[in-house]
Amino acid sequence: MTVDSTAAARTPRKRTAAKKSAKKSPGAGTPDLVQLLSPEGERVENAAHAEYAAFVEDITAEELRGLYRDMVLTRRFDAEATSLQRQGELGLWASLLGQEAAQIGSGRATRDDDYVFPTYREHGVAWCRGVDPTNLLGMFRGVNNGGWDPNSNNFHLYTIVIGSQTLHATGYAMGVAKDGADSAVIAYFGDGASSQGDVAESFTFSAVYNAPVVFFCQNNQWAISEPTEKQTRVPLYQRAQGYGFPGVRVDGNDVLACLAVTKWALERARRGEGPTLVEAFTYRMGAHTTSDDPTKYRADEEREAWEAKDPILRLRTYLESQTDTDEGFFAELETESEALGLRVREAVRAMPDPDRMAIFENAYADGHSLVDEERAQFAAYQASFTDAEGGN
């Protein structure tokens, strides 16, 4: 694998490169793109987007540092997972490198009582929801297929069958509305997923029932090896209109804009105005997963251009130039980062393999006679070895 995501994953230092390639900014040229922080780390004022900006108007430097911290720690965690995979501790890892702003911005926009339906790459959102990051690793290590209780943090299990969770989110949101609750639901999916029939059906159901759900599409421009043009010939956010609800394209590398737009959309849902599609225009800076080799299908220059738009770098520039954030904050964060890496590494290595009898657990909630029979046969079969070894 040629893309060195661990290197890129280090907490970025101030880099002058940022400005260099800011001109090459696919998507940013679109007048419709909501951006509050430019790649150069400057606050963007755009009257057309005032409605969104209002949601972050009063944001404090402290809160901004919080977002920065979330992004840095998420990236650190992600890099650790990537290297754990290389060391054979994980079978696979799907890196979020480059998508931190989209995930932290949207994740921090949710309230505790909201409910989140992720794909398999929402490590940053999980972080915002308070899911212990080591829990995310179980399925990639192969000890389970989803290791957390969705209801503990209102964060559903990772879903691998592309797009299917958008319907679960819609149904959940229909339930929220039935309950008369004022919370909202957010469903994550990718640019590739936008082609799945299930996603279209979730648009239809949510529109017809006016369900309080936000569809948050991280358009990272790639579905494994396929560029977005293989999924659509117009920007994805436009998809929503034909279903009768608004679609917004936000700069997915701008954490502030992602926070603002997602808050706006969640508020709409809470107010009973139904679904919204948010397209976060971002970039998958690493490989699809650790099994993937992007050199097969995309040019290095593309990634390099996007590195200049790094979501973390951008906020750092802003923090340093526009707020009272001092070096101490960054230094402390570096230490915290390392500690997180260490903790994750140790936790993974300590993760026990599941007991073999676990195969038969949880297939059914109320039991199933065939499973009982097979469990008993399996136990007897296993015991025959022990017996044999015991000289029985």
């Binding site: 209780d149 879903t159 958008t166 319907l167 239809t204 657990e361 006679s369």
Partner: protein, 326 residues
């Protein structure tokens, strides 16, 4: 009055009504289940009495129906979903197989999905394509699902109650050509276990196992055989996942002969599993191989040929004779 004589469809209707009435979390959803009351009137009057919020007309999209039902179940609801006909369940197959069946295990038991998927199934009603199929094996093979089918009004009532109470997803196959058959329903009875088979006729010479629409045929076969002096035991399987092999085994240990009957194609139909397992369990008891009567390995034929395709009295009797000839 607790005991009523009801058509099978009406028994399901009453059962849904009871569930809607007693548990505010129960929902009924599907295409045309509202004002129309479903194309077979199984949900007739329910929307009128429980409102559009509980009895929900959905968009025409089966994956969406099951997918949103999963979401509603995650929110604490107990949706009873209607698929309009057997042949239209396939757009929802992905949601059923990869999500509904597996989510409980994926969550290590931390979430439950009490979703019932009702599917009117089987032939014999002279319908056009996709309206007469018996796809139960395609669900029974999938771990995480339970699959049942009542053969009479009383079971229809009670098995629906039990399916709704189940914390596992249940695929509930309704024998559509028996919808109009009347039977006594005692709404105060104490039902047997949802997944237990039932002996519907005792006999000594051969066991017939069937479920859903074929139970009636098998009872007719047993009556006809009786006249020829053959004593046939008939088991109503009721559940295709899990299968009550103990009950079948017990019967076969007595009769030493087994014929399994279903409308679904024989090849990899539920009869295959029953034959394989009973042949193993009763290896020293069987006087004849387990014989199977069912559909052929062809797409369900047009209506004017379905009587040739479906197992009827003669074809089952033929298998009985062949078994007894061993």
């Amino acid at each position: 009055m607790a005991v009523q004589k009801l058509p099978l469809a009406k028994a399901i209707n009453e059962s849904l009504r009871m569930a809607l009435d007693t548990d505010p979390k129960v929902l009924v959803m599907g295409e045309d289940v509202g004002k129309l009351g479903g194309v077979f009137r199984v949900t007739d009057g329910l929307q009128k009495d429980f409102g559009e919020d509980r009895v929900i007309d959905t968009p025409l999209a089966e994956s969406g129906i099951v997918g949103t039902a999963i979401g509603l179940a995650l929110r604490g609801y107990r949706p009873v979903v209607e698929i309009q006909f057997d042949g239209f369940v396939f757009p929802a197959y992905d949601q059923i197989v990869t999500q509904l069946a597996k989510m409980h295990a994926r969550a290590l038991g931390k979430i439950k999905l009490p979703v019932v998927v009702r599917i009117p199934y089987g032939g014999g009603i002279g319908a056009v394509e996709h309206h007469s199929e018996s796809p139960e094996a395609l669900f029974a093979h999938v771990a995480g699902l339970k699959v049942v089918s009542p053969s009479n009004a009383s079971d229809a009532y009670w098995m629906m109650q039990q399916a709704i109470q189940s914390d596992d997803p249940v695929i509930f196959f309704e024998p559509k050509r028996r919808y109009w058959d009347k039977g006594e329903v005692d709404t105060e009875a104490i039902p047997g276990p949802l997944h237990g088979a039932r002996t519907v006729r005792e006999g000594t010479d051969l066991t017939l196992v069937a479920y859903g629409p074929m139970v009636k045929v098998c009872l007719e076969v047993a009556a006809a055989a009786q006249e020829e002096g053959k004593s046939l035991e008939v088991l109503d399987l009721r559940s295709m996942s899990p299968i009550d092999f103990d009950a079948i085994q017990k019967s076969v240990e007595k009769t030493r002969r087994l014929v399994v009957v279903h409308e679904a194609p024989v090849f990899l139909g539920t009869g295959a599993e029953i034959a394989a397992r009973i042949a193993e369990r009763c290896f020293y008891h069987l006087e004849a191989p387990v014989l199977r009567v069912g559909g052929y390995h062809v797409p369900y034929p047009p209506a004017r040929l379905e009587d040739e395709y479906l197992p009827g009295l003669d074809r089952v009797l033929d298998a009985v004779d062949r078994s007894l000839a061993y």
